[in-house]
Symmetry: C2
Subunit: 714 residues, 2 copies
């Protein structure tokens, strides 16, 4: 038994007075598949490549960068000045419709906006408040006359504006807002009023200091009837920045991040604005107070108005992916230079990137970021198709809204998790502000709960999936019902037969290599992910079937008992969407080596998703125990295969100097390593290196291994 000493090699690091960090960073071996970096960069730039390139040059300019140490007040002033610069340069001009003299290029506008995140997320979101929300509300909800009246000053920043939707008491539940706008036919005015503290508008960018006007969401009341939430244009401060009569404002004060934005609260005490200040595209009152709307159903009217504002979610999805790319660029660059602990070669420390645990913590995030980037490009194209009018029908709008509601929570979650993992993977260096990761996490933090709380959005997606499922059932004919029942029986049969996929086992048995190859087949991953997405919805739908016969209160309670499963169903759907987008993205690339490398990355993404939910696949008989047992080592094999391509994969993100300001990712670490290596080389050459006590002691006695051999021989 004495030869069984698995721990010896990993015990205290061997004595070593001369660590020599040398050797090139691993690159793909000659002849092996290799990523064509420019090709991939081009694919990731997508349809609005030109707009992104210009925006990336802009984002590299130092005058637009996030300060590392500033009070809230200083940071706010800096960002406001930066915003003036952007206004002067007409950065948001592409969003303008033709009748306002713009190109109405929504895709280009959003693409450019997303790139700003690497300059300063505060600047990005402040620009988003001014143009993506406040100005966009006027354009989307107002008449052409209203647009002509208010948009030019909004674009030029002559009128900084707040987007006054959220209230203290109601965040993502916009339908329950309590601010009222009551029409007075005597004066032909609206009276905007905040009835109680919980109805104060809150978290509004620009509200604490800079806003001169606001687009205020309030319940439209005329003739004693509440027509639901509409949007009003309300001046809030005069030219000197003093609050107008009846307007109150409070400062939200310091926040977890985005401190370059003056978030604050607004309240209205019987504030009067003219009748024409109702943004009246989807609802209007005549001078006598008669309400009219092109959309009869109040529910549909509300969701149509809200739907015009989907751009915020679309752009946060892209920004979150871009932020993940920056974080990965920093952490993976550092990991290929930083050396720590001696392992394989006792004269040389290993770079972090060669540790299995390091690959394991970072590469799945890299893979998910690729998936997210391809999925986002699809979302952005869908958004542009709808808003350009090229494909603007109710179904496309609804699909767009669902896709945005699905991707925004996933990418913002990914960004936070990725940035945090990157920060920890950089150790103490990752905690220094100069290395950007902590600031990025602080700023991106709120992306998870604003523009629709992530949980609320995933619930929306789940409802849409359930409603699609139900319509599908409703629409099937008798033959279809038979098919449905057969499918359902198949699922149940699988569930009660863990060996249902026995075929997998028979073909794979005793050949892990074959199992590895087949799990890497696209259809294997797609089948599993698609089956899960379908069955997860089906399970919830069936569980909720009795609610049709319940009172609303009972039904709601029952639905609540399945909320976690609903969210799981939504996540399963998004996973499939992202996997398919990634796969489609690879297929369009016309270089075999590039496709081979990216397919490994896609497999890492797909198998990670499957592995993370492995018990579910097992319990539903969708994967054999043989393959399930194999998946961990397959993932580790993929990590090793992708390892030589890490720097290429990161390079394709086109994160540039100026975006990267982190010294640890700009060669600082490499320089230090080389200096230390030179020192030890020099010492060895001079033969004056001190000898280690440990080595002396080893020399003074027979080695343990020899002693052991000696013992065994006797």
């Amino acid at each position: 038994m004495t030869t069984l000493s698995p721990t010896d090699p990993t015990a205290a690091a061997p004595a070593r007075t001369t660590p020599t960090p040398t050797g090139p960073i691993p690159v793909p071996p000659r002849g092996a598949a290799r990523l064509d970096v420019e090709l991939v960069t081009e694919a990731l730039l997508g349809r609005w490549a030109a707009a992104r390139r210009t925006a990336r040059e802009r984002a590299a300019r130092p005058e637009l960068h996030r300060p590392l140490d500033a009070t809230v007040a200083e940071h706010r002033e800096r960002v406001f000045a930066q915003l003036q610069l952007l206004a002067e340069e007409g950065v948001s001009r592409p969003m303008l419709p033709e009748h306002l003299g713009g190109p109405h290029d929504n895709g280009a506008n959003v693409a450019a906006f997303e790139e700003l995140v690497v300059a300063d997320p505060s600047l990005q979101i402040k620009a988003g408040v001014q143009w993506g929300l406040y100005t966009a509300a006027i354009i989307q909800l107002g008449s052409e006359q209203q647009q002509r009246d208010w948009v030019p000053d909004a674009m030029s920043l002559a009128t900084p504006g707040a987007f006054a939707m959220t209230e203290i008491g109601h965040g993502s539940d916009v339908q329950s807002l309590a601010t009222t706008a009551t029409y007075d036919p005597a004066t032909e005015e609206w009276e905007i009023h905040t009835p109680f503290r919980a109805a104060w508008k809150d978290y509004l960018g620009n509200a604490a200091i800079h806003a001169r006007a606001a687009t205020v969401f309030a319940r439209l009341i005329t003739g004693g009837v509440d027509h639901g939430v509409h949007c009003f244009y309300v001046p809030v401060r005069d030219a000197d920045g003093a609050l107008l009569p009846g307007i109150s404002s409070e400062d939200d004060g310091p926040k977890g991040g985005l401190n370059g934005i003056d978030n604050g609260r607004l309240a209205f005490e019987h504030v009067r604005v003219p009748r024409t200040h109702l943004l009246n595209r989807y609802g209007d009152v005549a001078p006598d107070g008669t309400y009219t709307s092109p959309i009869e159903s109040p529910g549909r009217r509300f969701f149509t108005m809200l739907g015009t504002l989907v751009q915020g979610r679309v752009s946060l999805d892209g920004s979150a992916i871009r932020a993940s790319q920056l974080a990965l660029h920093i952490a993976l660059t550092y990991a290929t230079q930083r050396r720590q602990f001696t392992a394989a070669d006792p004269t040389q420390e290993m770079v972090l990137m060669d540790y299995q645990a390091h690959l394991h913590r970072l590469l799945p995030k890299l893979a998910a970021t690729y998936a997210g980037a391809f999925a986002h490009e699809q979302l952005l194209q869908a958004f542009d198709d709808v808003f350009s009018g090229r494909a603007d029908d109710p179904e496309s709008r609804e699909d767009l809204e669902t896709l945005a509601a699905a991707l925004k929570p996933t990418s913002t979650r990914l960004a936070l998790d990725t940035i945090q993992e990157c920060r920890e993977a950089c150790g103490g260096s990752g905690f220094l502000a100069e290395n950007q990761l902590v600031g990025l996490h602080q700023d991106l933090d709120v992306y998870a709960t604003f523009e629709g709380d992530n949980t609320v959005l995933l619930q929306l997606v789940a409802k849409r999936l359930l409603s699609d499922y139900t319509s599908e059932l409703r629409s099937v004919d008798r033959a279809g019902i038979g098919r449905f029942i057969a499918q359902r029986a198949e699922v149940l049969a699988k569930r009660h037969t863990p060996w249902a996929r026995l075929g997998q086992d028979l073909s794979d048995r005793r050949s892990p290599r074959r199992a590895f190859d087949s799990m890497r087949e696209a259809h294997f991953q797609e089948d599993l992910l698609a089956d899960r997405a379908r069955v997860r919805v089906e399970e919830v739908a069936l569980a909720l079937r009795p609610t049709a016969r319940m009172s609303p209160a009972e039904a709601a309670a029952e639905v609540n008992k399945h909320q976690v499963e609903m969210l799981d169903a939504a996540r399963a759907h998004v996973d499939l969407v992202r996997w398919r987008a990634f796969t489609a993205g690879i297929e369009q690339l016309e270089d075999e080596g590039t496709r081979a490398v990216l397919t490994d990355v896609r497999d890492l993404f797909g198998l990670t998703l499957i592995n993370d939910d492995l018990a579910w696949f097992l319990l539903n008989g969708m994967i054999s125990t043989q393959r399930a047992r194999q998946i961990g080592s397959d993932l580790r094999r993929l990590l090793r295969r992708i390892r030589p391509h890490v720097l290429d994969l990161v390079a394709a993100f086109d994160v540039r100097p100026g975006h990267v300001r982190a010294p640890i990712a700009l060669g600082g670490e490499q320089e230090r390593q080389e200096e230390a290596a030179a020192y030890f080389r020099d010492q060895r050459a001079r033969h004056d290196a001190p000898v280690s006590e440990k080595v002396l002691r080893e020399r003074a006695r027979p080695s343990r291994r020899e002693a052991a051999k000696h013992t065994e021989a006797h």
Copy 2:
């Protein structure tokens, strides 16, 4: 098929102009088991209850609190002034040994230190640097004379000190530090020298501004022999704060958090200190340069010296748990008051806490925090037993170091995840600095990588587990080997028979209730967690068996291929430790109701751990598919059972006003809810509430349900 409409109840919220948030916060029904809050508080306070109580009073004092908006410079000055206060009040006096006039009460000292985290983590860590590291190094590594020379000024803060261990090039790998201390017998001096940039000391608290002296870790070289890393007392600044000759310092600048501490770098250019400045308890040189040490093996000597500094890890474990408690107090209090969206009752919005998803995201963190608190008390007692000398033997020290290395990564990870989940669960409010959660996350962030990087520590634990396993094998006699082989065969048999636990199925079949009860049996959870902890180690040990015949380089490469499994083995071990500590903690409580409620919480902890690794348990034949399929609904059932006790469970943490400064957890939300409710009540009483357009439309036509009935009837 028309009755199948599972989504209807969850579609757009029903029309409602009068949300009335009312009703008491759910409490346990009369007669049901209920938590004795004071009893649990007492149990959590543990052996050093008195010290904790005093420290909690101190932490509630406003002058010790974290500022919400300050520049780095302002925050540093504030914290330094606070530290002076603590010094004047003799807060760290309990750590002093008798010969320095102290009570040598290490447990009380650490307990009090941990409580500081709710005042300002910067203050806590600055105190930790001064007394827990710099002063402790002198006490632990120095002679009595050295202690008398330097400790009094360290305690009084007359000499602020830095603990100069970490180098830019080497963080957790202390053995590879490159700073040298070369003995010159001619002058009887040490020459401390930084040979290259990577050897600069970095991230040192106090180094940028305040430190007058430093305990510097450097390779001791005398007579051409390198005796490994030792610690030296080195003055670095004069009384005016000017750097002494040969000393260089740089400021680490702003960080992700803990900005009240002046972290910085130090370098030494042939700096000379007297021979007696070597802290000489574990190694000394005579005037002629002869090296002596009470510990022969250089490896053991090094680890003994390092082991004396385990206090840092112990105290971070406790601080992380305390920070989680504060975060949970804030988020769970808010969740019981905040209402959002209409569900069960259309006239009333639901409190967040009643949403299944909300319970699901927060209660497992609450359960893990309880487990962590009980585990920490065991760690603290073990620490005190060793350092008081009551149980100071090599094995106890090693056990203590392993336990600290196991718990610190787990609790700091838990704290970060818990705080982040709490911040997101509070929506936009959670992002405001005044509500404490973002600041807490920023400050605690670095706890994951300092005092031993979490990954490195878990790897240490894994090595210890592997080495214990190997010794166990070595020590078994022939009969034992037979037993081992039989056990191993049993594991393999289970693995290849997913139905091995068929007994579970037979007894549980068709009775989810019985399955629920039996999964809640302590021995069921303990068996699973213990089996996993054992088998995970065994698997790695067997996989590494061939390394015994490999060259060190090959062996290291092979070990690296199993690094992720090693970390998993360590985590499985910690899970078991925490589960057992929680269970032991409950058993000591002499109140049946309290035990019943806490057992539910323990079950939530245990079943969550099992559920998180469910595929592994399935694939190793340790849980039946029947039970595995049941576990999700069992967890949801536990969430509902624990729901009424949430506020009691939080109250037992004894987080006080002054610790909680978050307005959302101090009744602000409740007040707003009540004001809004009163407004709507009043409106209803006056009969002047506007009527909803939606309601009018509904009234104007037969309801859909009636229409549907009508259709069906024909």
